[in-house]
Each structure stands twice: as structure tokens, then as C-alpha cells.
Amino acid sequence: MSGAVQLSVWQVIFSYLFVLLVLAIVRKRGIRREREILLASVRMSVQLVLTGYALTFIFANPSPWVTLLIIAIMEGFAIFTVFKKFRGKLSGRLKKTIAGAMLAGTLSCIFYFLLVVVQIDPWYDPQYFIPIAGMLVGNSMTGISLGVKSLVEGMSLQRHLVEEALNLGATPRLASREIVNSTFDAAIMPTINAMLGMGVISLPGMMTGQILSGTVPTTAVMYQIAIMLGILGSVALTVILLLHFGYKTFFNHDDQFFPAGCRKHCEK
């Protein structure tokens, strides 16, 4: 297996020909998206270059505090992204549940994966910690976003069924059972579908990156299998925590139902 072909700055600059090509096409066809394409290309490049320098520095100077700080930033950014996506639709209790589910679900999986499965040493080795935590947090964020959307919409659209169930003497858990089950489906199915197509329909980015950088494909595959199972676990755990506590945020202490979420006024 030969090592990776190192790309020079000039070689990377040649790849910008694709951007010029796309710009020419959209201009010719009168699609007014030149600004967005240019901005996305430049922003992506700058962000990645800065990240590259930052990671080089962090890898060269490993510190548990820096690793923990980066994990905290990732978690904070992921939680904030979910809040921003559902602005005005989340009660305070549901926000706390989302944050708690993200932190508990992802951190437990990250530490299990790195310390028990990969067995990195030292435990904070940023070369492993940061990319793997990024993948687990990123996928869990997508899962929890889908879960929150399905839960909030389900409680609103199927409010008559929840109310009817309560009228018939159901506990909040039983009254929300169908919504909770379909929410789990909605949140977890994209991960399951990705696993089903993996290696046949798509070659995952991490594996491709490892192969391009000279890793033997079988080693890359082993990593990919382990990370996919880690992602599945992290997404599932995060969503289960969201659902286990999240449905309760639509009911008050008297088991009365609030389809838009139980906010301050419904608490006694």
C-alpha cells in the first residue's frame, strides 16, 4: 500500500475550477445563486484551513483541558443548533430535556467507544477524541432534531387522540405511546438506512478519507464498522433519553395535557 498523494496548494487551487464551472453554468442559465456558491466555497475553505491549523496545534500539544473544552464547544453548538431550529416551539422543560439527553447520550457513548472499544492512551488523545466525538455528536444532533420535530408535531397534530386516551383513563405514558414510538422511528431510521446502504450504495466519508490517506482498506473498514455501531448507539441512546423524559414535558403535575408543551403557566 503506497502512502497518500500529498496535495500542494496549486493542486487544491486547480480543484476550484469546479466552482468556476458551476458559477458559469448558473450565470448562463440565469439562476441567481452566484453569491451563495462563492460564499459557501470560500467559507468552507477558510473554516477547514483554520480547523487544520488548530488541529495540528492541538495534536502537537495534547492536553485533557483542551480536549474537554472542544467537546464542550461541540455539545454546546449542537444543543444550540437544535434550539435555534425549533425557536418558539420548545417549552423550558423540553429544552432542558434536549440538553440533558444530548449530553448524557453522547458523552456516555464517546467515553465507552474511546476507552473500551478503541482503548486510546492517553484518554484525551485529541487525534482520536475530537474526530470521533464530532461524528457521534453530529449524528446524535441530527437524530434528536428529527425526534424533537416528530414529538412536537405529533403532540400537536394528534392532540385529540391524546386527550381521548386521557379521558378513557390512560396515564400520560400510555396516552403518548404511539407518538413516542413513531418519534423513535423517525429519529433512528436515517441511521439504520445509512447502515443498510453502507459499502454498497455509499462509501462512508471516514473510511474513504482513511483509505486516501494510505490506511489499508481492511483497517479502515474495521474502524468504520465500529464507528457506525457507536453512532447507532449514541443516536439511539440520545433519542431514547429524549423520549423517556420529553413526553412528560407536555403534561403537568395533574396529568393534564398541553399540546404546545407545559410552560410556566401550566405549572402549579
Binding site: 386516551a165 386521557l166 378513557l168 383513563g169 390512560a170 400510555l174 396529568d255
Partner: protein, 224 residues
């Protein structure tokens, strides 16, 4: 202990700006709530069922303050049938069984279910999908679902609104007869004075969220 002989006793009860009841006693038996739309009848039923809580005042059920009573336990005893009761996806049988699943009780056998369908005059197979049912059939299925559960008190919100007069008369008549025979109480919302005069032991008239009259059945029959 307040009013242990009363089915419900309300003291200084208000709910937002919808309802304001300084004092009301609802006795065991069949009570009908009469009043125009928006008079607060449904809100009163929801308060009695504890699916909402009063913004002021207290409600007692057989002498127990509802604030102290666990909601789910209360709702299983004081069951509410809303005006447009929702049907759960599935068949007639699924909808009859679901109340027992919600209350974590053993489901009745199919013969008991069929018997109940006959009582509410719903001539449908247990395997019939609820999607195929008309509005009136759904209302009768909802009634059957509630009556199978056999609670101590039925809170019925316009249980015959989607039925024609003859069917309404027959179905409500059967419901009341069965309740009386088994010592159950009914609090029923209706627009119909005829239903009130025919079946009620007591009629409470609401207007703009206030109780304007409480009548025994004989007063109503006398046209007072």
C-alpha cells in the same frame, strides 16, 4: 369533609373568564346541563373530570377535594365522553378494547363487546374498520367504549348530537336505564330540553359561565 352526600360540590369555582360558580351541588342520579353554546357546559364537565383545574375555588367529589385526588384514578372513576370523541386507528373491536388497555385492565370478551354494540344500536361487525363508520356510528361506538368501562360517574358531552331524534331517544334512554339499574350517576350536557325533561333527575341551566337555575325534574315538567 364537605358534602359527602353530594356527587360533586363546587365552591367559588372559576375558570379563566369562562366560568364563575360561587356555589353548586350536583347530586347522584342523572343531571343534565342545559345552556346555549359558550355558556360553559363543556368547561364544567372538564373541571369535574379533572382534565382541567379551576383557576379559583375548590371541587369536591363524594366529599374528597379533587386537588388531593390523583387525576388518573379520578378519571377512571369519573369518565368523560367528549362531544366529538376521537376514534383510534383500527377496527371497532380495537376501539372497544383500547379503554381497557389504557386502564391496564383485562379486556372483555367478544360476546360482551357485541352485546354492548347492540345496546347502543350499532349494527357493525367487530372487525369493521372505524374509517368506514359514519359520524353517528362513531358516536355510538364512543358511547359503547365508555359504557364497557363501567365507571361510577359518566360525564357525557352531547352524547346524541350526531344521532337522529329516534335513535338519540332510544340510545340515551338505554344509557340512563343501565346507569340507574347499576347505581351509576350521569352528568350530561345537552341543548335539548326534551332530553332534560325525559331523563334528568336534576337540570342545571348555565348562561355566560354562571349557573342561572337548578331545577328538579318535576319543575321542568311543570314548565317552570
Amino acid at each position: 369533609m364537605i358534602g359527602t352526600d353530594a356527587l360533586f360540590y363546587l365552591e367559588g369555582v372559576s375558570y379563566q373568564s369562562i366560568l364563575d360558580i360561587p356555589d353548586l351541588q350536583i347530586n347522584p342520579g342523572v343531571t343534565v346541563l342545559l345552556g346555549a353554546s359558550g355558556s360553559g357546559k363543556t368547561t364544567l364537565l372538564k373541571l369535574l373530570n379533572k382534565s382541567i383545574s379551576p383557576t379559583g375555588g375548590s371541587i369536591w367529589h363524594t366529599g374528597l377535594d379533587l386537588k388531593e385526588t390523583p387525576s388518573i384514578q379520578h378519571r377512571r372513576q369519573v369518565l368523560m365522553l367528549s362531544q366529538q370523541a376521537a376514534m383510534f386507528p383500527g377496527t371497532v373491536e380495537d376501539n372497544l378494547a383500547i379503554g381497557f388497555q389504557f386502564q391496564e385492565r383485562k379486556e372483555p370478551d367478544v360476546d360482551t363487546m357485541r352485546q354492548m354494540l347492540l345496546q347502543v344500536q350499532l349494527k357493525k361487525e367487530l372487525t369493521e374498520p372505524v374509517l368506514n363508520l359514519s359520524g353517528g356510528e362513531k358516536q355510538r361506538l364512543a358511547l359503547a367504549r365508555v359504557f364497557l368501562l363501567d365507571p361510577a360517574v359518566y360525564l357525557l358531552d352531547e352524547p346524541s348530537s350526531a344521532l337522529d331524534d329516534d335513535t338519540a331517544d332510544a340510545v340515551i334512554g338505554l344509557v340512563v336505564k343501565q346507569a340507574r339499574a347499576t347505581g351509576r350517576s350521569i352528568v350530561m350536557v345537552t341543548h335539548s330540553k326534551a332530553v332534560a325533561s325525559k331523563f334528568a333527575d336534576e337540570t342545571i341551566v348555565l348562561k355566560d359561565g354562571r349557573v342561572v337555575r337548578t331545577m328538579q325534574n318535576r319543575d321542568l315538567e311543570a314548565g317552570s
